[in-house]
Subunit: 431 residues, 2 copies
Amino acid sequence: EDGQLSEATRAAILELPSEAIAALLESLPVNSRLQVWALVSDDERGDVLFEMHDDARRHLIGEMEEADLRTMAARLSPQELVELNELIPEKLYSRRLKLMSIKEQTAVNTAMRFDDDQVGRNIDSDFISISENLTAQQVMRLLRQWQIPSNTDLLCLVSEDGLYAGSVQLTDLFNAHPQQQINELKLEEDPAVGAEMHMSDLADHSYQNHYAMTPVVDDAGHLLGRITSQDILGWVQDEAESQLLQQAGLSEDEDLFAPVKRSAKRRAVWLGINLCTALLASWTIGLFEATLEQVVALAILMPIVASMGGIAGSQTLTLAIRGLALGHLSSSNANIIFRKEILVGLLNGIIWALVIGTMAGLWFAKPAIGFVIGAAILVNLIFAAVSGVIIPLILDKLKIDPALSGAVILTTVTDVVGFFAFLGLGSLFLV
Amino acid sequence: EDGQLSEATRAAILELPSEAIAALLESLPVNSRLQVWALVSDDERGDVLFEMHDDARRHLIGEMEEADLRTMAARLSPQELVELNELIPEKLYSRRLKLMSIKEQTAVNTAMRFDDDQVGRNIDSDFISISENLTAQQVMRLLRQWQIPSNTDLLCLVSEDGLYAGSVQLTDLFNAHPQQQINELKLEEDPAVGAEMHMSDLADHSYQNHYAMTPVVDDAGHLLGRITSQDILGWVQDEAESQLLQQAGLSEDEDLFAPVKRSAKRRAVWLGINLCTALLASWTIGLFEATLEQVVALAILMPIVASMGGIAGSQTLTLAIRGLALGHLSSSNANIIFRKEILVGLLNGIIWALVIGTMAGLWFAKPAIGFVIGAAILVNLIFAAVSGVIIPLILDKLKIDPALSGAVILTTVTDVVGFFAFLGLGSLFLV
């Protein structure tokens, strides 16, 4: 039949690793997506969903028969169960949890105590912990019997009362004397972090230390698990992606093939917010209705003033946001940067005021128009510089991420100031 | 004296790790920056510069006395020499290179053969390679004598003729029989990558495989070095930062405290590009000068049409750019996404046409104005959806990164189309 997959395609798909199947599913329209999903084995489905974005997996889970869903849920790993907990029915969640080993149950319950972007939520419970009272030789013997998980370059030591007691670099075992106590090999600078830590802080931390894994402990000093560099890398990549999407008012989970109605509804919210800011700009223009009637050149040139202000402002804003993120900008040095940005705005304001003023004066054969637009550009570029520094600092103080709402607020300011300066000067000098 | 650092501050600074000193230097205005720099020891200076952005380190190097610069250059590590090669005088570069061991010289010369964003440029030559003809016991004995670098979870095997022969997971040594040949322990799926590979491809690759390091080979099969997960993480973080800056027409190396003149000059370029697009919009408005003279309400409402189009378009654009980056969007499924986005544009177009049309009609007490702006919004939102899919696909075909120039092109289109539709309909129905 036409809509069916060929034998060769089926075979090729079954060979793919789960990350590739996940990417394939997300790049397929709804119908073909369900056909490919039907090929994925019960065992692999949890793996594949784990790698997908929220919308697309919600869609697949929504289309599954109850029996299939039950089979899949019963095979989820602890990490998969945590990741998918909001998408599968409560009943299947608890049933799966009950059938896990005590160790796995603890892992799930521990992870669920933390937020998505806390270290505790993202830990991997597949790691090696060892009593701190053993000798190097005893540890080597144990390691020979165990399956050592990938990305292991540290052994975590645990004291008799079950608390985390430090970490040993795996390679240090090679140089140790067989009878040496393992806890004598402990790293001086302990690499462990608290489970409450934010993932983005850990990302910076991990770049500075030098192990493939980071042990994670709770407030009471219990060892909860570890995070590998790969986990952190995945998180950083997801974050960068999600930040780009959020700047356009989109959710990071947005599915390319989401139903039209749902997509339209979500995006409508951002359009509505934007409408409010655009209305503010229109209202400003409306104040000068009488002037515009007399000097139509003002209407023609208006967008230039607003747009130059918006661009200059967003340059300052972007630098300030990066400065805040890297810790280079704070209230202690804001003054100096403030002064510098105003000077940059002044310099570019003068240059572009001359260029645009001359062009506009020639275009409308009226030097006064050139003067008015030049002055407005100068005012708006200085104002843009001021706002570009102040807005992110204020948002940061209010604990609002300036990377998300900074640009909308800034362009509202530069639009309103630009229109007001331009049309205001126009009413004074051109009417 | 006033401008001097106190003893306590000096002592505290000297205790900091080099990453923290780098961040501190970048957050200081020029004068204090030089004072802190004077405290950094000759040995640590290379380390610190390695962690800084280009502009700030260019500034520090520019301010150094020749003798200090010579001392610092003579102590650079191979990785530091590669990173700083464009910033120090040719003569000091070659002098440092000559004084290195053969192994280090090879590392530098190898790295210099590749571009900044290729794997080959970023490799770490501090790793363990071992002849593939040894037994497990012989390897263990060697490892006991060597200093094993951090982030080592693989041993790279080399054949008799010096070619890369596969990798062994370090932990597999624990379970091996002492007399077993090391090359029998080789990983089936070889983790090595080619030195020509782009770092961003490696970042995706590394997230999928499971080692703390990735061996790097050249075309001829020689083992050049390795890349650790930490190196990749650092690169991904830098990339995300640089992408945000480039979207605002800024260089990733921009220094918060760069001289006003240099900052102004750099940003002027982006303002100039923006001016061209703004002029195009003004020119479009100019076509309807006569209409604007008669119906000033059009001038007041213009920004709303352009801005709604810009927002809707950038939402589609952002999704398309992400889709391209993740491999979810290609010419094979572009058609389906195209149709979906047009429908979303249509739906939101209808909703916002009604809302804005009603508001505008009431505002100016003239239903025809409501009709004209409603129709213009509808047209612009559909056009925005079309452009949001087509522009990134075309740029991608032309090998231009759509994340950089896509937004500028898109808003130019939505401005021009929006003004043309709105003022054109206005001339037809309102004059």
